[in-house]
């Protein structure tokens, strides 16, 4: 009885959480997440510095990181839009990247080879090839959607089945890539010199890397305009936000879905070509990018293109800077650890909205 009395005497509390819950809730806010990510980057820089990397080395690594982030972002925007609009993690997205790269390789080889556009290592035919490949990979994505995902969607299948179907699509597409192009590494321009430029502040960077940085920035900006200014872009964001409400408001969701695939696939092509320029072409390249892409999507918040870009750049920098103090092979591992940190602190990510 006395216990009840004591409880009744206290003023009515609106917040009936225990102290522990309140501490946990504070820990799990977006601000904490942003702080934790920023701290991680600072710690990475300091660790790299302790391992003997000079300031300009770290600056170069950071710029390479932003470049890698741009590549990841191009893949992650498509991934996050598909995740938001269709509500499943598309494990086949990496294969769209690979398809785009190899498709560009083949089309560029058919075109007459132009002189290298110095300071870059590639000629105009690569850009033409990339633009011609975009609709082709869009067709691939739409075909997979028509055969596999649309029937499942019509049946109202659960997320898990869709995820599994996308895993099947991933292995199917990769086997096609292996069958057509084989398992050997390839280069867009084998043996062509790719000189390193030295910029002010002693930053060492290749011409191609500058190009990748600029093109990624342009494409990301274009996507931004597309999503925020055009009708289709707004419809896409509305569908990602709440598909039922979007349909009620007269948005043709199947058309939005097709547009989402087209945008995602085209950006994936661009991302793949740049990744191919920065390293080499291999059938597993998309699969290796998948983990950083998912990490970026989750870090930014599912369905948020802005979040995906920010997440991708954080992950790109973290991966590159971490290579100054651990084995560079663990790059994907770094993105995985960051993803787990996000899941622990704030699963909604930096820009995500509370959804289902």
């Amino acid at each position: 009885m006395s216990m009840h009395d004591v409880a009744d005497d206290t003023a009515p509390r609106h917040d009936d959480r225990t102290g522990r819950e309140r501490i946990l809730a504070a820990l799990r806010s977006r601000i904490t997440l942003a702080t934790a990510l920023a701290l991680t980057l600072v710690v990475f820089w300091l660790l790299g510095y302790r391992q003997g990397a000079s300031g300009s080395d770290l600056l170069s690594l950071t710029i390479w990181g932003v470049m890698l982030g741009g590549i990841i972002a191009l893949g992650a925007i498509g991934l996050t839009l598909v995740y938001g609009v269709l509500k499943f993690p598309n494990f086949a997205h990496g294969e769209l990247v690979t398809f785009g790269t190899y498709g560009t390789f083949t089309i560029a080889a058919l075109l007459p080879t132009g002189a290298a556009l110095r300071p870059f290592s590639f000629g105009w035919e690569l850009m033409v090839g990339m633009i011609l490949t975009m609709p082709l990979v869009t067709l691939v994505a739409l075909a997979v959607d028509r055969v596999l995902f649309r029937p499942l969607r019509a049946r109202g299948a659960e997320l898990v089945l869709l995820a599994m179907a996308s895993l099947a699509a991933s292995f199917f597409l990769r086997s096609v890539i292996y069958l057509i192009w084989g398992s050997d590494f390839m280069f867009f321009y084998p043996g062509r010199a790719n000189p390193i430029l030295t910029l002010p502040l002693n930053i060492r960077i290749q011409g191609d890397q500058i190009f990748v940085l600029v093109l990624a920035a342009i494409l990301v900006a274009l996507t931004w305009i597309l999503l925020s200014r055009t009708r289709m872009g707004k419809a896409m964001r509305a569908t990602a936000n709440n598909p039922d409400l979007a349909q009620v408001r007269g948005i043709n969701t199947e058309r939005v879905i097709a547009a989402t695939w087209a945008l995602g696939a085209s950006l994936a092509v661009a991302g793949g070509v740049m990744y191919g320029l920065a390293s080499q072409l291999r059938p597993e390249m998309g699969w290796f990018l998948l983990l950083p892409m998912f990490a970026a999507v989750i870090m930014g918040g599912i369905g948020s293109p802005v979040g995906a870009i920010v997440g991708a750049i954080i992950i790109g920098i973290a991966q590159q800077v971490s290579s100054s103090f651990i084995n560079p092979a663990y790059g994907p591992g770094v993105s995985f650890i960051l993803m787990v940190v996000v899941l622990v602190l704030q699963p909604m990510g930096l820009f995500g909205q509370k959804g289902d």
Binding site: P89, A157, L167, A168, F171, S175, G182, L343
Partner: protein
């Protein structure tokens, strides 16, 4: 009948008996008798009907399918029973395989140490290695499940995919741990002295004489017994689990999470427990694999062979059904192995399409397995044998809620 065939028959008896128990219908006592008789007959008959090479192939096929069946059962206890989407089977498989290898091998010494490095080599017996493999895989599973299992299922899929890749990178790059990118060799095979000359010293003279004609190439006949015994233990344990109150609780958590938690079940911990149990079984599967192939490296644990194909097995056989998991393992491994022959036969035709195609024929198998999963997901997501939702042994089958 020659003595070598007789000895091989003797080894076939136990696996056939267990198989009979698994597939024969009817009451327990009758089943045991029927299985004994059938196992004796078939075990005696097989070496007569098939030539020795074919029989050896069949036995090694069954051994590998049995190992996959253990993994598939492990996945079933996660996905089938509790609804966890583990896309990182390869990771737990690898942890199990390397753990058992480290615990049972001898630390390389002298000149060998320059070529082969490992963190430790404890020379434990086979079973000790298997149990440690399960425990370590379970610990890894526990640590990954804590941050992820309280979230939506898709996060678990992505996170497990990630942990599998990270584990593979570790075994690829850390030379000191398990010989880096080079294979870790010389993993001992349990009781392989049975097939050596002279045979194990503790063997009674009669038995040694009986095994005399067998060569180390016939070791797989013995290993099939090991695999089928472990498979049987895992199967029985999982059957008991899925009918126990704990198993019913897991299904409740899977199907109706809110009502389960309203009924006072700690959903979060039940999910973690079921995930950890599955990881333990996968670790055991990894250990059994390591002692079979004797030499392992990181490339064995890639997403295709070690994750994707196991999902296809479980989905084909029937998720939620332990018999289905075993059936799926044998069926998909049969398709996979059979496709290799088909592609060999078809290689002149492939040559006509493109010169490169015959050398890339292996990837046609990927395509086939991927298509298989796509078809299952589209047309029969419950698999061949669907889940039996039997809640009580006192209920007749007619009362079962479908």
């Amino acid at each position: 009948m020659q003595q070598i065939d007789l000895a091989r028959s003797a080894f076939l008896f136990l696996p056939l008996f267990l198989l009979g128990l698994l597939i024969l219908p009817g009451r327990a006592a009758l089943r045991i008798i029927a299985a004994l008789v059938l196992a004796a007959l078939i075990g005696w008959g097989l070496p007569q009907m098939l030539d020795r090479g074919t029989l050896t192939y069949l036995v090694s096929f069954s051994t590998m399918a049995g190992i996959y069946a253990i993994l598939s059962l492990g996945l079933n206890s996660q996905w089938g029973l509790a609804g966890h989407v583990n896309f990182g089977v390869a990771g737990f498989f690898a942890v199990g395989a390397f753990t058992s290898a480290l615990f049972t091998t001898t630390m390389p010494e002298g000149a060998l140490a320059a070529y082969s490095q490992q963190a430790f080599g404890l020379q434990w017996p086979f079973l000790g290695g298997v149990i440690m493999a399960g425990i370590l895989a379970a610990i890894v599973g526990f640590f990954i499940s804590i941050p992820v299992l309280r979230l939506r299922t898709d996060f678990l899929a992505i996170a497990t995919l990630g942990i599998a890749e990270v584990i593979r990178f570790i075994f690829q790059n850390e030379r000191w741990l398990a010989n880096g990118p080079q294979p870790m060799r010389g993993i001992p095979r349990p009781l392989d002295c049975l097939f050596k000359d002279p045979a194990c010293s503790w063997l009674p003279p009669g038995a040694a004489e009986f095994l005399e004609p067998l060569s180390p190439r016939d070791y797989v006949f013995f290993y099939l017994i090991v695999v089928s015994l472990i498979l049987a233990v895992v199967f029985i344990a999982l059957e008991r689990i899925s009918r126990s109150p704990w198993g019913r609780m897991l299904r409740a958590v899977r199907d109706e999470e809110n009502s389960a938690s309203m009924n006072g079940k700690n959903v979060f911990w039940r999910r973690i427990e079921s995930f950890v149990v599955g990881c333990f079984i996968m670790g055991v599967g990894g250990a059994v694999y390591a002692h079979y192939v004797v030499s392992i490296d990181y490339s064995h644990f890639n997403p295709l062979f070690a994750t994707f194909i196991i999902w296809v097995m479980l989905m084909l056989g029937g998720s939620g059904n332990n018999k289905g998991a075993i059936l799926g393992a044998f069926a998909v491994w049969g398709v996979w192995s059979g496709a290799a022959f088909m592609i060999d036969i078809a290689s002149p035709a492939l040559q006509l399409i493109s010169d490169d195609l015959p050398t890339r024929g292996a990837y046609l198998r990927w395509m086939l397995v991927a298509l298989l999963l796509g078809v299952i997901v589209l047309y029969r997501p419950q698999g061949i044998l669907s889940e039996r939702k039997k809640v009580s042994d006192f209920m007749t089958d007619d009362d079962e809620p479908q």
